[in-house]
Each structure stands twice: as C-alpha cells, then as structure tokens.
Symmetry: C2
Subunit: 173 residues, 2 copies
Amino acid sequence: MSAIDEALRANQAYAKEFDSANVYMPPRRKLIVITCMDSRLMPDQMLGFGIGDAHVIRNAGGLATDDALRSLIISHHLLGAAEVMIINHTDCGMLTFTDETLRQQLQASTGATPQSPACFLTFGDLEANVRRQVAKVRSHPWIPQSVRVRGFIYDVRKGELNEVSARAQEACA
Amino acid sequence: MSAIDEALRANQAYAKEFDSANVYMPPRRKLIVITCMDSRLMPDQMLGFGIGDAHVIRNAGGLATDDALRSLIISHHLLGAAEVMIINHTDCGMLTFTDETLRQQLQASTGATPQSPACFLTFGDLEANVRRQVAKVRSHPWIPQSVRVRGFIYDVRKGELNEVSARAQEACA
C-alpha cells in the first residue's frame, strides 16, 4: 500500500470519531508557530495544542522566509494571532549540506537550472539562525511591535524546548 | 499566562514522557504533506502519523509556493521522500479576502510598502487551487516524474479528506 493510501485509511478512522465540527477559523490561543518540516517534530503534541488552538507554519529549517512572513501577516492581521514562536531543532538536515553542493547535484542530474528555488537557505549555526529569524519577524514593517516573538531550539533526543536568550537575540537584531 | 508560556509548560510534560530519542532524520514513510497553517488542521492526527513518519510543510493556503518547493526538493533529494499529498481545506481564510484589499489595509495602517511579501496568494476556487498546486509540483524540473503527487480537500466540519480527481488535475496541468 502506498504511504498516501495508508494516510487515507487512517483519515477514515479519524473522521468517524471526529467531534470538532464547531471549531472556528481564528486560532483560539492567538499563537503562531514557525518550525521545521522535520518528521521528528510533532508541534501539536510537543506544545500541547488541541484542535483550533494555533497556526502552524512549517518549512525546511523553520525559517522566517518571505512565504512564512506572508502567512504570519495574514495570521496576525486577519485572524488575530499576537504571539510567535520560532522553533529550530538539533540534528537539522539544513546543517548537513550547502546550497552550492545541492544546486550542483540537481543541475548535473537533471540538466535543468530553474529560477526557483533561488537558494536552499542552509545554515551552519543553529542559535545564530534562530536569532536571525526572530530579528526578521521583529523588523518587518507589517508586523507591529506589540507582537511578541521568541526563538527556541527543540532537542530531538530529549523532546524539550530551550529558549535562545533574548539578550543575545537583541544583540544580533 | 502568555500563550507561549502555556506551550512551554506543556512541553515540559511532553519532554518528561519523551521516549523517541532513537528516531532518525529521514521520514520513515517517505511521505511529504503540504497543507494550510489553519489551526483546525492537525496533520499528524488526521493522517495517522507517528513521530518520524512524514515531512509536513505548512503555509497560508497549503500552497506549492517557491518556499514549499524548496522544502520539497530537499525532502526528496536529500531525505528520500517520494510521495506528496497536497491538502487544502473547506472554510479556508484564503477564500475570504483579496490581495488588493489586504495590501491597501496594511499600507494605510502602517505607511510602509515593503517589497516582500509581493502577494498574499489568495484564491477563489478551492478545487482549482488544489489542481494548480499539484500541477506546479509535477512540472518542476527538479522533481522527477517518479514522485507521486495527489491533491485533497479536507472538510473541517467532518474531519475527512476528499481527493481532487486525477482526471480534472490532468486537464488543468
């Protein structure tokens, strides 16, 4: 059975027991999480979310990319979210390669050089990367200073979050 | 208590019970989900994922944006994912406003006109939108034809997934 068909079978069971028809669009906790797509991260479970609680934005790395900012601005201005958690994690794949090597590999194997993605946004220092993402959100002119933004590193071996210190964040902002 | 502090308290309990230290980086089911940030969507629960099973990419709308494609290419080429589910959903916020009105509102209230985000990527037809995202993934030169891509609409009132038919997808691809 394909992985998609396996997921669809699980969804049939989920829908049978589904009892949250009266949950509405705005996130109840007014919270947005930006985190990595990594399969070891289960944001709802690791942060104690129930259905309807929080917006979750995920991409490779857990980055405040232009697309994440697009989502975040919609979340804040149209749906009332007012706190942002940015969560990177230990043993992230983005620490293990470089833009250059992946690009060369793809160009060599496909012969194609598409305009997008323009870069893969790898990084070498996890804490510095979190600080950069926090600073990027805080400095966006469409995100008011009233929105609280905090950065964290999730330890995939321990299941725990550790905050990247606010002082260091400010020093690099 | 702030929503972030509430999430951190929940994480302390999660970490105490955490027993998945030996789960590794590549997604076990070789599956990638692209879906919306909406708080009513709980991808792991609604698709039956355990820790380590699948990559999950989320943004406003559940779109195959340039950033989602960046993540997907990394997921496939470096971590072996080979099936893609694109999941939009009923009652999506992206159906309720237009790029133009939000942009005008933000410019008026902040006086700023940042270059990014260049657009908010709203849409008016859910099925057509899913087909466009599927086509976008299928046609990317760095995503081989061997990668299976299927599109779905999640019903937020019923908890169930419905596939957007492959035939219609092909007609619009």
